[in-house]
Amino acid sequence: MSTFRIFDIAGSALSAQSVRLNATASNLANANNVAGSPEDVYRAREPVFSVATDAQGEVAGVRVMDVQTATAEPQKLYQPGHPLADGEGYVYAPSVNVVEEMVNMISAQRSYQSNVEVFNTVKDLTMRTLTLGK
């Protein structure tokens, strides 16, 4: 029903932004997670958004199309004393850019806030419409 479509739109944005926040949290949490070989290293996740359309082809919010893993090469660190070090004394750290992740986090947070604001405004207006003439 078109009257409450706006809740779907704002709701889809909230869930998409929380996926983005989750990915950022995961990237930051694993930023210092070293591994013994380049294949085992954690790779940064990044969600890709796309426009969601309804059956009539109208814009019906946003959806997470894909969660991509970063292709950047892991960093090679020389730490012979490390228990996970390979034969040559190297460990491999994920190439997570912490500054980039923080910026992503702030951006996702702001977007989330905007959509909560939309949600609340429309909720108030809808409640007032429902109590029209009382």
Partner: protein, 129 residues
């Protein structure tokens, strides 16, 4: 009937809702690559709405229907011109969308107030108190 009772505000309410739909979609897609921001030309939409509703009445099955639709006239949708185009092709400027949304919400509220007092005065007329 409802036109005579509530005038422009009944239509303004549904169009205002349609416009807030469009603006909410813009805000929701603020981070979507290649998304082009839209807006509803309110005056144009209202004009279309009235033209299709009041002036032209089809009295024969062979008359052609006018294009206006009840959902809010997607014919009046216009693309937003970005002030600062971003590298990913997204043309949503969140500040503009937020201010437009606030304006749309306020106008919706104004229409609600008019409708509310109209309903109240009708109730007074009906109950005679």
């Amino acid at each position: 009937m409802s036109d005579a009772l509530f005038g422009i505000h009944a239509k303004a309410l549904s169009l205002g809702r349609a416009r807030m739909d469009v603006l909410a979609a813009n805000i929701a897609n603020a981070d979507t690559p290649q998304y082009l921001a839209k807006d509803l030309d309110f005056a144009q939409a209202l004009k279309t709405e009235f033209a299709s509703a009041s002036n032209l009445v089809t009295t024969s099955s062979q008359h052609l229907a006018l294009g206006g639709n009840a959902a809010g006239g997607s014919a009046a949708e216009v693309w937003r011109t970005p002030l600062q185009p971003s590298a990913d092709g997204n043309t949503v400027d969140v500040q503009i969308e937020q201010s437009q949304f606030a304006e749309a919400a306020l106008k919706y509220q104004a229409s609600l107030n008019f409708l509310d007092s109209r309903v109240r005065s009708l109730m007074t007329a009906i109950t005679g108190q």
